[in-house]
């Protein structure tokens, strides 16, 4: 037997046991069944997160000194940690007002930066924009940034709590 005919025989033996019509039929059904399975798995995957949330404790929101009013110029921002070790951003707006938010983008947790020129908060990962009141403006983020409640006393700025939902 020549080498060529041997090769042909070897190749045909690879597909001899398959009926193409059956293959397509079986794969289609298998694919649809897998899709049903994936739908169920994705739905049930929300449960462990809820269990984990139920078990874990939230970081304490005690009163915490951040900085003094004079130390932060208008149009500048300052990073700090609150509550606990969560990264947050204090912004001194051009209007003179102070605002603070957790500076983790609500899309994929990238840090958020204050852009003075545009007076917005920007997540550079996927160009998610938030207005200075913490509301999402454009890009992938769909929910507002958690707001850090501030108190100003004798020229000192304190973080006193956090609001997950704070409206427009």
């Amino acid at each position: 037997m020549s080498n060529e005919s041997k090769d042909r025989e070897r190749l045909s033996s690879l597909v001899d046991n398959l009926s193409r019509a059956d293959d397509v039929k079986l794969n289609r059904r298998a694919f649809i069944k897998s899709t049903f399975g994936a739908g169920i798995a994705l739905g049930l995957a929300t449960v462990p997160f809820n269990i984990a949330a139920f078990v874990r404790s939230e970081p304490r929101t005690d009163r915490q000194f951040i900085t003094t009013v004079d130390a932060l110029e208008r149009g500048k921002s300052l990073e700090f940690e609150y509550p606990g070790t969560e990264p947050s951003l204090l912004v001194h707006l051009k209007t003179g007002e102070f605002v603070a938010y957790n500076n983790k983008c609500t899309h994929l947790q990238c840090p958020v930066f204050y852009v003075e020129e545009e007076d917005v908060l920007l997540c550079p990962c996927h160009r998610g924009y938030f207005s200075v009141d913490g509301q999402p403006q454009s890009g992938p983020p769909q929910r507002e940034l958690p707001k850090i409640l501030l108190e100003i006393e004798n020229g000192k700025i304190f973080a006193v709590g956090r609001e997950i939902h704070h409206g427009a």
């Binding site: 739908g39 994705l42 997950i164």
Partner: protein
């Protein structure tokens, strides 16, 4: 379109909804938004039930014997 086609469209819609709900659940978990998480989980579990019902319906159509 036949019943088989409609059931598959339903499956795709439910699958996509669950995908988005999982994404939202993770986002809420990260920011301690427990109330929203619970809501998303309830909707996702209802969807799982619907997918189960849809699977039974699809199987009945898919494996029916032709008269």
């Amino acid at each position: 379109m036949g019943r088989n086609g409609w059931s598959l469209i339903g499956l795709v819609v439910l699958l996509a909804t669950n995908m988005v709900l999982l994404q939202y659940t993770i986002e809420s978990y990260m920011v301690y938004d427990h109330a929203s998480m619970r809501l998303y989980m309830i909707i996702a579990v209802i969807n799982v039930g619907l997918i189960g019902l849809l699977y039974r319906y699809w199987k009945k159509i898919e494996y029916r014997t032709k008269e």
